[in-house]
Symmetry: C2
Subunit: 418 residues, 2 copies
Amino acid sequence: MDITTYIQNMGRAARQASSSMATATSDTKNAALTRIGEQLDAHRDKLLTANQRDLDAAHKQSLDGALLDRLELTQDRINGMLEGLNQVIALADPIGQMTDMGVRPSGIQLSKLRVPLGVIGIIYESRPNVTIDAGSLCLKSGNACILRGGSESLQSNRAIADSIESALASTGLPNTAIQIVNTSDRAAVGKLITLTDCVDVIVPRGGKGLIERISAEARVPVIKHLDGNCHLYIDDDADITMALALATNAKTHRLGVCNAMESLVIAEGIATQVLPQLKAIMDSHNVALRGCAKTRHIIAGIDAATEADWSTEYLGPILSIKVVDGLDSAIDHINRYGSQHTDAIVTHNTERAQRFVVEVDSSSVMVNASTRFADGFEYGLGAEIGISTDKIHARGPVGLEGLTSQKWVVHGDGQIRQ
Amino acid sequence: MDITTYIQNMGRAARQASSSMATATSDTKNAALTRIGEQLDAHRDKLLTANQRDLDAAHKQSLDGALLDRLELTQDRINGMLEGLNQVIALADPIGQMTDMGVRPSGIQLSKLRVPLGVIGIIYESRPNVTIDAGSLCLKSGNACILRGGSESLQSNRAIADSIESALASTGLPNTAIQIVNTSDRAAVGKLITLTDCVDVIVPRGGKGLIERISAEARVPVIKHLDGNCHLYIDDDADITMALALATNAKTHRLGVCNAMESLVIAEGIATQVLPQLKAIMDSHNVALRGCAKTRHIIAGIDAATEADWSTEYLGPILSIKVVDGLDSAIDHINRYGSQHTDAIVTHNTERAQRFVVEVDSSSVMVNASTRFADGFEYGLGAEIGISTDKIHARGPVGLEGLTSQKWVVHGDGQIRQ
């Protein structure tokens, strides 16, 4: 079978499965998630063996350490997958919620009903745990899904797929509710993202290059997570101890995550007090600083930040620093160079805090809190399928609700339009 | 200036204007809308003269009657534009609404803040009234917009643009908050829909061909309104008088609108009673019927419906009819051939009504009401910028709220992530 036919068949099967999924009860969906966990638990050895084959092949191709780390499954990571399943089981089911009910002057009763999107395509890197995370969120939200993990993880994903398939079959849900693209042919992605008849939304997860390419080529709507070039702005009216604690947490708590601070913006009036202390802290964490001219005037011996630095998500031990004359310049700088992900202000001035909240055009805006809180679990969504840097549909952490939409429901007793 | 530079400049100006628009108060926005109305009213003659030039040119090119009708402005139509402005002024401002407030276990206070999308690009046919409708909705929802009407209406739109510009200037809003593409060069559209840095969403309005082309070529997210192939399903348990009244209203109230019924689906058990009466009614409205084999067995002398008929939005005096054995077949037929716009069931059986509501995958699903109610005004949204047949973001009639999104707002007092 050629790849076009293969993906089309998957799409049709997913579309068909989506009808049953849309009407599945919470109990049935939770039972299926429980069974998936049981199957994975029962087949740990098979899973680890398959994963070892992926790892061996990756070693032979001399793939880099970060990729190997993401690819590797261990007993602990399998435990994490099972724990994730339990968390999704515990989440409230958004499907079937009715809101905005009312009677219109014509006499029709109007309401909105929360329903699944239908079929979700997820394209991700070689991280087998995402197969379970993404699949379980789609299942719980009543969607069918087609999962396309990185080709390096194909053996692992096949083993996971076997567990999923037998679990679905045993709970009466269609075994095509969660399908895994079983080929490393990259043409599969190109086909999947243009299958407008059968796929309702594409969620790409991974590096910026992958996501930009998918966004450019997709015909199906995309919920995308581009970069997290997050800022912390220290205002003149900041508590300096708090500011230093927040900057330290935002930068050093985890370096390689999307909600880490990549750039510090600071008001001129407070910079001379804060920056030398910040330098000492960042030195102790081996974080290199790159600054604007004013920054380098206050803390000598650091590299100059280039224009490119202001737009860069380092995902590593580098921090750029910009001294500004006040709030207006800070907001301009953040809106110009930021990635509309997460930006925070440290201040006790409520008026400036409010202006920052309203005027910084990012999915999460924070006052006196670490950017690291921009996260589905911290926001109470449970697991997240990603953090959207788009403005339409879901913004910021996307949980179950982001995988649903609302249809209008009208009840009448024979009303006609006059 | 080449077209690329021209559109890029408009995009940058719109992006800049969007910051002021996002913080404009309801009073300021309403004052601007009032001033726009005053300016239009004061310059009726200029507007009609410009429109006459468009009409003369269109006549010379022998453009069709429907286009000429949409293009023409009259005193009545200008009154309609002013009335539309007043309706938008009367709508509640969605910007600034805070919802989902709560304190998380970490101590951060979380909420969602409703904000404008930013910059909206609207591409539409040669209908000068849309310039005011779309512009006023974007303005009220705090967005900047770039409007690109059909080239046949360029003179009319220039005259409207003059009124808008002087109104904006006099209320202190940026005069680039509403910009009109002042060229008939079609390359402008191609540039506008790929201007991802400056435009947040594209709303195409018009024929299916235009919308499909824009969706295929756009890089900016699109809120689209494709066809309205709407169904009415008459169940075995329908009140026959009600069913006939609803079918008549849904088909004949207005033929050329997207929420008109294009296809009637009817249960076998009731078809012999209903179809002959329906035929008489449709005959009296000069609506031609096309039926499946079973339909033609009941009402002789009508054309056979081909496979293509089931997918066709006639927008005219034709109705296709399909007899099915019951609800399952009806739902299958509608989900297969419908356009996910609006579909209705006539029944007194609450269980089947509920199944129809849940299982028919359309933006509006109705029980015992005419499909003609799928409309922003009827749903209480006020004006609508379109009716979305997409599933993500806004589904069905898109009013002010569909032109907004929600950002996450976090307030803390120094919380760091553990």
